[in-house]
Symmetry: C2
Subunit: 202 residues, 2 copies
């Protein structure tokens, strides 16, 4: 549902081919909304059918072509409308906390492995988010720079600040996950120790 608006958000900065968009995607909006190319190309076609974007085939070498899309006024309206509409929140579906709630059914080693992987995954995310945050604060993200160039002076601060807030939120979230999993590892160790004490009381 949001893919469409994630694509519009990028295309509003300037026209792009599906291929370029997909590359940009993984480096900007892709941090908050992942999409594989197998989803992007068809979605662009659907958006074109809906009149939100228009594509033009450009020649590339002798025979090759690439289709470059730009946002139509209607696409712009649709984006604005989405920005002003209430977000629909998905119901919780959290495999990590589901499993955590039943870890007594696993071996201590499995439990440890689970928390270790959780930390590893979220450390990865954290690194990405922090990198992005730095780029935002230094105004060194190319996409952001292009966007800033195309807007009146008065809107620039807001653009930077909202992006910063968004990524700061992601950083906070990643840190909470890492912290939580760390406490999980401590708990595994504590329970294991108590178990041994029970078995061999003196």
């Amino acid at each position: 549902m949001s893919l469409r608006y994630a694509l519009l958000a990028i295309l509003r900065v300037g026209p792009l081919s599906g291929y370029d968009l997909q590359k940009q995607f993984s480096q900007s909006v892709g941090h908050v909304w992942h999409a594989p190319d197998s989803q992007i190309y068809p979605e662009l076609r659907k958006m074109e059918a809906a009149g939100l974007v228009e594509g033009e085939d450009q020649l590339r070498g002798a025979r090759g072509t690439r289709r470059v899309y730009h946002v139509t006024p209607e696409g712009d309206r649709a984006f604005m409308e989405w920005m002003g509409s209430p977000l629909d929140y998905q119901r919780v579906r959290d495999p990590a906390h589901l499993r955590a709630a039943y870890l007594e059914s696993a071996s201590p080693e499995s439990a440890r492995e689970f928390f270790r992987k959780h930390i590893q995954v979220w450390e990865g995310e954290l690194a990405q988010f922090e990198g992005e945050l730095t780029h935002i604060q230094n105004v060194s993200n190319p996409m952001l720079v292009r966007r800033l160039e195309k807007m009146p002076d008065g809107d620039r601060e807001a653009t930077i600040e909202y992006k910063r807030l968004a990524y700061q939120g992601l950083v906070d979230r990643a840190q909470v996950e890492i912290n939580w999993a760390q406490r999980g590892l401590d708990l595994v160790t504590r329970l294991e120790k108590e178990k041994v004490d029970d078995d061999v009381p003196d």
Copy 2:
């Protein structure tokens, strides 16, 4: 993918009909894994076909029946195997942070509305999680009590502690979201004030 294991987690405590399971669901695992009845009934049938559970039709009144499911040894094995296997992490797809990153395209009032709703939604979740956490700490959750009764003494502490950890993690997460949205509201106000100062410099 996890629905099956969420259902097994509940059924391992004791046999239930689809209807009862669905009720229990919303009060326990449902906090971490939502599922509507239209998904639960067919999934139970599939699990039965896969040999993980067995259902028996029980009479109810003169003509009515209800199908009560219990976990088979194979279902038990499947659950244990899942507990020991690495969790597959879904790619990020976060509509709230996506929108937050582009809020300069919205009116201050829309931005405020967005953050307010975010707070409201997560306050709701927080209340649920905190309530659950209290029930865990007081050992006053009926499902938990039934589970504890069916296990050896030595496993009880682990069961309680892991559940507590899981819900503590959810509480932490909810608080981070609320906190973040609060900062968002502050930012909207700050930007609006600066905008006015720009327009009317003295």
